[in-house]
């Protein structure tokens, strides 16, 4: 469930050694600090128009520019044509749940938001502005984003604590005429569903018949549950487990959830614990699928729990940086397919497969919002693409190396927006695909030109070629 940049590189990982893991993370951290000191941030603003002399400012700025403003005043929609709004989004966070660091505040969240912006730019061709904001309540965050929205074509909410994030996304999606996305909810859920669809195909299962256990009731799994039910999963075969055990309708804390987390409350009443009572062990007996998005501890899911599942079970252990069970352990216990959030194991459930392409798609179609249909269209396109390359237990999702998938997902998203009647630009799938390809390839070309010209410095700690 981690972004590509948050996972470890493929070498030097020994799953049996927690110490080696920790050492590697510390070393990557040191390098990140060194490079941050060297580069002083990851972005600068670069004009996309020629500026030959100050005379050009007579059109880029006053007096000429007043006529452009006048046009937009008469038709505000033109802000998407005559300014960079069409391709610019804000990455907004209150810093309340940043990575595994917790509530570290907006200033400390900035490096992470810059990194996210770099991913948006590199993979999606989207201009993303990192915007950590100092706010107190969920309402303040909503009001702040409402006021920022005129400058942006879309909003990406990032690293906001659950369940606050549900309220903020719901409110903004309802009130803003531009797409709003929260990656920890939608991106992770979309990648999870994509992988699961292929895992079900590979093990000859139908979504309408499986019994599924969701471990963890945070942002990602609450949305995964919603998407699975939309796709036809029987809610009474869905068991949600959190740190207090199975989420059933009789639990003592249900009234508290009604007040503080109505999304989880609703899910409890909808699933009724999947007919089960008790702990994770009780939930997993005869289950087909486990989707764990809980705590980074490899002993969370025990081998005997996997053995108690139905034959050839599907195990997604998505906690980062350490999965709830090591893939080798899960396979030894009989798991037919294992996915994690990490890039150094097969089947990485990675939201970076989703968010750059989703924004490319909704921006190109100028969609007014991102309903679940669009999230599912992205998931299905990802699944389709992996299947085209050939499904194996080690390949249920495209890898980050399969970059050609991004424009396809963008085109699928844009086409779905047109179908739903929420697109302000209606093109054919082929046209959206061509546009996405072009816009997604520009950042690499630009970056290469600047690096070749010596305007972007090579990494100071790497030997020059």
């Amino acid at each position: 469930m981690g972004d590509v940049a948050r996972s470890s590189p493929p070498d030097a990982v020994d799953p049996s050694s927690a110490e080696a893991e920790a050492n590697q993370t510390v070393e990557l951290g040191r390098r990140a600090v060194r490079l941050a000191r060297f580069y002083h941030g990851k972005f600068e603003t670069v004009p996309s128009v020629p500026v030959r002399s100050l005379e050009d400012f007579a059109v880029w700025y006053t007096p000429g520019i007043a006529a452009v403003s006048e046009e937009i005043r008469q038709e505000p929609e033109l802000s998407f044509e005559l300014t960079g709004r069409w391709n610019t989004i804000a990455i907004v966070t209150d810093g309340s749940r940043v990575l595994g660091l917790g509530d570290i505040g907006p200033e400390a969240a900035m490096p992470v938001m810059e990194g996210k912006a770099l991913l948006f730019r590199t993979l999606g061709g989207v201009n993303a502005v990192p915007l950590p904001v100092a706010v107190g309540s969920a309402e303040e965050l909503v009001e702040t984003v409402m006021r920022l929205a005129p400058a942006f074509g879309g909003i990406n909410l990032e690293d906001i604590a659950s369940p606050k994030c549900f309220h903020v996304l719901e409110e903004l999606a309802r009130r803003l005429p531009i797409p709003v996305w929260h990656d920890d909810q939608l991106g992770t859920a979309a990648a999870t569903v994509a992988g699961l669809l292929n895992a079900l195909t590979l093990t000859d299962r139908a979504l309408g018949e499986v019994r599924t256990v969701l471990l963890g009731a945070g942002a990602a799994n609450l949305v995964t549950a919603r998407l699975l039910v939309t796709l036809g999963h029987d809610p009474h075969r869905l068991t949600v487990v959190d740190h207090k055990g199975i989420l059933d309708a009789d639990r003592e804390d249900l009234d508290e959830l009604m007040l503080r987390n109505r999304w989880k409350y609703k899910l409890a009443l909808q699933t009724l614990g999947g007919g089960r009572r008790g702990s994770l062990s009780d939930a997993l007996v005869d289950a087909d699928v486990l989707i764990a998005a809980s705590t980074p501890d490899p002993n969370t899911v025990k081998p005997e729990m996997v053995r108690s599942m139905r034959a050839r079970p599907i195990v997604f252990a998505l906690a980062n940086p350490v999965p709830e069970i090591w893939p080798a352990t899960a396979r030894e216990a009989g798991a037919a397919i294992v996915a994690t959030g990490r890039g150094d194991f097969p089947n990485q459930v990675n939201n970076s497969l989703v968010f750059p392409a989703v924004f490319r798609g909704v921006l190109d179609a100028r969609a007014s919002r991102i309903p679940d249909e669009i999230v599912l269209a992205a998931a299905k396109e990802l699944a389709r693409h992996a299947a085209e390359r050939g499904l194996t237990p080690e390949h249920i999702l495209p890898t980050m190396e399969e970059r050609e998938v991004f424009p396809f997902v963008a085109a699928a998203v844009a086409t779905e927006a047109v179908r739903l009647g929420i697109a302000r630009r209606k093109f054919s799938r082929e046209e959206f695909l061509a546009q996405a390809r072009e816009r997604m390839s520009r950042p690499a070309a630009l970056s290469k030109a600047l690096t070749d010209a010596g305007l972007i410095h090579p990494m100071p700690d790497e030997p020059r070629e």
Binding site: D255, E256, R260, Y265
Partner: protein, 174 residues
């Protein structure tokens, strides 16, 4: 007072889901946990409603006293269908004299609690109507409801059904 339901639909159909009847002595072991759930919910709204450690024993005594008191209404909600006989809700109400005001007798709804699964579908409406009817039988000319000020769900539920605030209870600790 929790929100027993927010559906504006008629209470017809609610009786298919639950049945409300006067509580009996043998119900008390099943009603005590429901009353405690309500009190713990109230605690969520205000620290001045912190539940005592001996609340369970006190709840038992309070419900026993209700059974003895002819002015009290103590009702048990029974599940239907697969849950037939299972107690899923409780209503406590009483009739008080109003020495200075008219109407002279006030029916007070003290506690209403339903397990989450049995809420909505007009069930709250049904509980309110049934309770009001029994209070009227005991001579009440006005019906009131007590619940934590911060419980906006309850406030909305009653407001929709013609209730409005008439007395405020303000508190500070000593």
């Amino acid at each position: 007072m929790t929100h027993p339901g927010t559906s504006a639909a008629s209470s017809h159909g609610a009786e298919d889901r639950i049945r409300l009847r006067p509580a009996r002595r043998e119900d008390l072991p099943h009603l005590v946990p429901l009353l405690l759930r309500l009190k713990r919910l109230n605690e969520e709204f205000d620290p001045l409603l912190k539940v005592r450690t001996d609340a369970e024993a006190r709840a038992q005594a309070v419900l026993e006293a209700d059974l003895e008191n002819p002015q009290s209404v103590l009702l048990a909600a029974e599940g239907s269908g697969a849950d037939h006989g299972k107690l899923v809700g409780i209503v406590r109400a009483t009739v008080r004299e109003r020495p200075f005001y008219t109407p002279e007798k006030e029916g007070v709804i003290l506690d209403i609690y339903l397990l989450p699964l049995y809420r909505r579908h007009g069930v709250g409406e049904y509980l309110l109507e049934e309770t009001t009817r029994r209070l009227a039988e005991r001579g009440a000319g006005i019906v009131t409801a007590e619940f934590p000020t911060q419980n906006e769900i309850a406030a909305r539920f009653y407001a929709k059904r013609g209730f409005r605030p008439i007395t405020a209870l303000h508190a500070r600790t000593l």
